[in-house]
């Protein structure tokens, strides 16, 4: 396996020099095509999965919506009630809710556009800053390769992913017999979102000096622009968003209005942002040193504090920046949810079956809306917990665990410290989220009580952590992928289970679906105890296995 890879790399490096000899020039882009080939060679599977998974959502969601709204009368009825603050804030204005194409946009457009933005962000960092950080870019740049060839090829391949994904989406829309203009605008607006974020991710990759920093910065931008457009759609007059919408590239793409007005000109703005971002990023690349960022490196302390050098202190210190950003995320989103809870529930018509379905059938609309927000907060806390425990695997993989275990530290203590941070951190995030939602909602519920209600998702988070421990013990190399995969499926099942026509029993069998959705549903201990017992069993087995297996370094 490793010899094959080494062989492939060797063959590749000789190709680099050969193609340059043939080309015989020394421009900034020399070797551009070789680098495209190289990036495709390393990422073809990843690229294919992104394109196929995103595009395949179109027929799946279209099918379920066709069953939910079989007649024009049912779609017209839906159009009357579709414009709720929840829909506007989460997925945008439902400007064409009376048509199947318009309903498709409401249900899936935002998910696809934001997912594609994430896809290009991760790709740009993976093949850009991360390569530079490990020193592999240096190896390539030592060959006869233009200074911008690798970066430009990286932007180009990501752009190609956007175009192919957009084209697949359009073709699948056409395949289910949606109007042709709308189908093309649907694909173009999603591809355009991705292309615009390529420009932003490229800039982040130049400014930050680590891959982690580049990803954090770019994801923060996606989040910021998502909230800007959410605010714009909440401030909308009828079906036209507030001018704030033009301050977010996601807003530009929304304003293309697939299956509605079908505007093409915002696409120019998206393409422009992408192109300007990439060009500016290449400029920055020529003005900085290899491996350096734009932000200067600061000096630090001569020795570690007593806390940092302690068993629990080291993982806490390593995760400090990440802990702070997750807590800021929880505070901001909870305050946002809390402040819209009242107005959202008062706008929902309790007699409308679709609205009732959305909030999960509580005694009052407010209870249902709160239940959705709690679930959202729980999914956020769980993502934190998985990422936090994931640092254990990255410590092992990088070889740093070996140095720690070579000291007088037992494997159990080491793994427990990482677990404690994930467990306690997620618990505090759940409590804090519920409390702040209550506080910001101005009377929707007692903050303390809502905090407790939110905490009922803790066992579900613990189950995911237990699964992570189990895979860390038995399949350490694929642990991270498996856990994020299961997490993704749980999110889909608990948030969109109804959309995919999953049965109630199936949803109840997933970690987050199993938790009673208080306050709409009555609190019930038994599912939580079941979750806790399974967590305890899986976690213990995983921990015991780790005590007995080899330490695996990359």
């Amino acid at each position: 396996m490793s010899t094959q890879t080494a062989h492939g790399r060797h063959a590749l490096l000789s190709t680099v020099s050969v193609s340059n000899k043939e080309a015989g020039h020394n421009g900034a882009m020399t070797g551009f095509s070789t680098m495209i080939w190289f990036i495709l060679r390393r990422n073809w599977l990843r690229l294919s999965i992104w394109a196929l998974v995103l595009a395949s959502m179109i027929p799946i969601v279209f099918d379920s919506q066709q069953q939910a709204f079989p007649t024009q009368a049912s779609r017209d009825a839906y159009a009357q009630v579709a414009n709720t603050p929840a829909v506007a804030a989460m997925t945008g204005l439902p400007y064409a809710a009376g048509s199947l194409g318009g309903i498709l946009v409401i249900k899936i457009w935002m998910t696809l556009a934001v997912a594609l933005a994430f896809a290009v962000t991760f790709l740009i960092t993976r093949n850009g800053r991360a390569e530079e950080e490990t020193g592999r870019t240096e190896l390539l740049r030592s060959r006869a390769i233009g200074p911008h060839a690798y970066s430009a090829a990286n932007y180009f391949v990501s752009a190609a992913l956007c175009v192919v994904t957009g084209a697949l989406i359009s073709l699948l829309c056409l395949a289910v017999r949606l109007p042709s203009t709308g189908s093309w605008v649907m694909g173009a607006s999603i591809a355009g979102t991705g292309l615009a974020f390529i420009g932003l991710a490229a800039l982040c990759g130049q400014v930050a000096s680590t891959s982690r920093g580049a990803n954090t910065l770019a994801v923060a931008l996606i989040g910021l622009f998502y909230f800007v457009r959410a605010a714009a759609d909440l401030e909308a007059e009828g079906m036209s968003p507030s001018p704030l919408s033009w301050f977010s590239p996601i807003g530009w793409a929304q304003n293309m209005r697939a299956f509605g007005e079908n505007n093409l000109w915002p696409l120019l703005a998206l393409l422009g942002l992408g192109a300007v971002g990439c060009i500016f990023a290449l400029r920055l690349e020529s003005s900085r040193d290899m491996g350096a960022g734009m932000l200067p490196e600061r000096r630090g302390p001569t020795r570690a504090t007593r806390f940092t050098a302690s068993a629990l202190g080291l993982p806490s210190r390593l995760q400090r920046a990440s802990l702070i950003s997750w807590f800021i995320g929880v505070v901001v989103s909870s305050l946002f949810f809390g402040s819209v809870a009242q107005s959202m529930s008062s706008l929902l018509d309790p007699s409308n079956p679709f609205a009732r379905n959305f909030v999960g059938g509580g005694a009052t609309m407010l209870d249902g809306v709160l239940g959705i927000f709690f679930l959202f907060n729980a999914l956020l806390a769980c993502a934190f917990a998985i990422q936090s425990l994931g640092t254990a695997r990255s410590e092992e993989d990088s070889g740093r665990l070996e140095q720690q275990l070579a000291g007088a530290l037992s494997r159990r203590t080491w793994l427990m410290t990482h677990l404690i941070i994930a467990v306690l951190g997620s618990g505090v995030m759940l409590l804090l989220g519920g409390y702040l939602i209550g506080l910001a909602s101005q009377g929707a519920g007692e903050p303390g009580v809502l905090a407790g209600a939110c905490l009922s998702y803790w066992p579900a988070v613990l189950l995911m952590l237990a699964l992570q421990l189990l895979t860390f013990g038995y399949l350490p190399r694929s642990s991270t992928v498996i856990v994020w995969g299961v997490y993704g499926l749980s999110v889909l099942a608990s948030m969109f289970g109804g959309l995919f026509s999953l049965s109630e029993n199936v949803i109840r069998a997933t970690p987050f679906g199993a938790v009673p959705r208080v306050p709409a549903e009555d609190f019930n201990w038994s599912p939580l105890l079941v979750l806790l017992l399974i967590s305890l069993a899986l976690g213990t087995v995983g921990l015991m296995r780790f005590n007995r297996r080899d330490v695996l370094t990359d």
Partner: protein
């Protein structure tokens, strides 16, 4: 095997990674207070052996004892008395070198702060810089300072000088001599022959997961052949008649050949009858000894086990 004063006792150690055999009955012995060289080509199993000794990998067979204890079961208590320097030091990029040293020292238990400050100066390491800005040599120094200031009974060093400049290699050499003078035991895995020659009392050479040569350095020299170049009055081809001459190369009146150490007296007296005009004798170098083992393609254990009497 019953002796308890050995720092490291390994016999018949086996380790497989799936179908690949990493260790195939490896033997290694380091006596207390001894500096032992541990050599072998890349992939021979040196790091695997050291990781098993640290309890990071679980052996599939054989016996491994360190300071009389079980490396797997007694890992934590054992590590208070052992310090380790890996060949590839990976540090937390957002912590400073000084912070990393404190953390590694704290994990070890005891630390000699005076010695630590002194080592920082001798290795010319700036502890206030973030680890991500360190070169490979500087990352190596962090691990060395943490290990050498630890009061450990036994030092496990896995190619510890990779990336160090020649001056820093000298600092390292004198530090190890100081450790040895205080009676500490050292296992030094290295590819630098001069380093091993300068520091080590004994040497173990392994290949394909097996020990092919082990013994005191002085005795190993005797196993090696002396290289002789000679010019005689007659055609040098006649020299093939002398018993004890091997690998004879003839060019007119000059010849080159090798002689086993114990055959040397008889070969020299026989040679005298050919009236040599010029004779150059090259003593056996360790490098040749190592290279012979490194490049032997037969894959079987080579040579006699010297120094077994100890």
């Amino acid at each position: 095997m019953a002796t308890t004063n050995s720092a490291i006792e390994v016999s018949g150690l086996k380790k497989n990674y799936g179908h690949a055999v990493a260790l195939n009955g490896l033997d290694l012995r380091v006596e207390t207070g001894e500096v032992a060289g541990f050599l072998g080509p890349n992939g021979a199993g040196k790091s695997t052996t050291i990781r098993i000794l640290l309890g990071l990998l679980k052996a599939d067979g054989g016996v491994a004892r360190m300071l009389g204890r079980d490396p797997w079961k007694d890992a934590v208590s054992l590590h208070r008395d052992v310090a380790y320097v890996p060949g590839e030091v990976n540090l937390w990029p957002n912590l400073t070198g000084g912070q990393a040293i404190s953390i590694l020292s704290k994990l070890h238990g005891s630390v000699d702060t005076r010695r630590q400050n002194e080592l920082l100066e001798r290795f010319e390491l700036d502890p206030t810089k973030k680890a991500r800005s360190y070169s490979k040599g500087n990352r190596q120094k962090v691990a060395l300072v943490a290990a050498l200031s630890s009061n450990a009974e036994l030092l496990l060093l896995d190619e510890p000088t990779s990336g160090l400049d020649p001056l820093m290699e000298q600092v390292f050499t004198s530090c190890i001599r100081e450790e040895a003078a205080q009676g500490r035991s050292v296992l030094l895995s290295s590819h630098i022959f001069s380093e091993v020659e300068k520091l080590c009392d004994t040497v173990t050479i392994i290949r394909d997961g097996q020990t092919v040569e082990a013994g005191a350095l002085a005795e190993l020299r005797h196993l090696q052949r002396t290289q002789i170049s000679v010019e005689i009055a007659a055609n040098a081809g006649e020299l093939s008649a002398i018993t004890g001459i091997e690998d004879l190369e003839v060019a007119g009146t000059s010849a080159k050949f090798s002689v086993d150490q114990d055959q040397l007296p008889s070969v020299l007296s026989a040679l005298a009858t050919y009236a040599p005009r010029n004779l150059v004798s090259a003593p056996p170098s360790l490098e040749e000894l190592f290279l012979r083992h490194y490049s032997d393609n037969s894959g079987r254990p080579v040579g006699v086990r010297a120094g077994e009497q100890s």
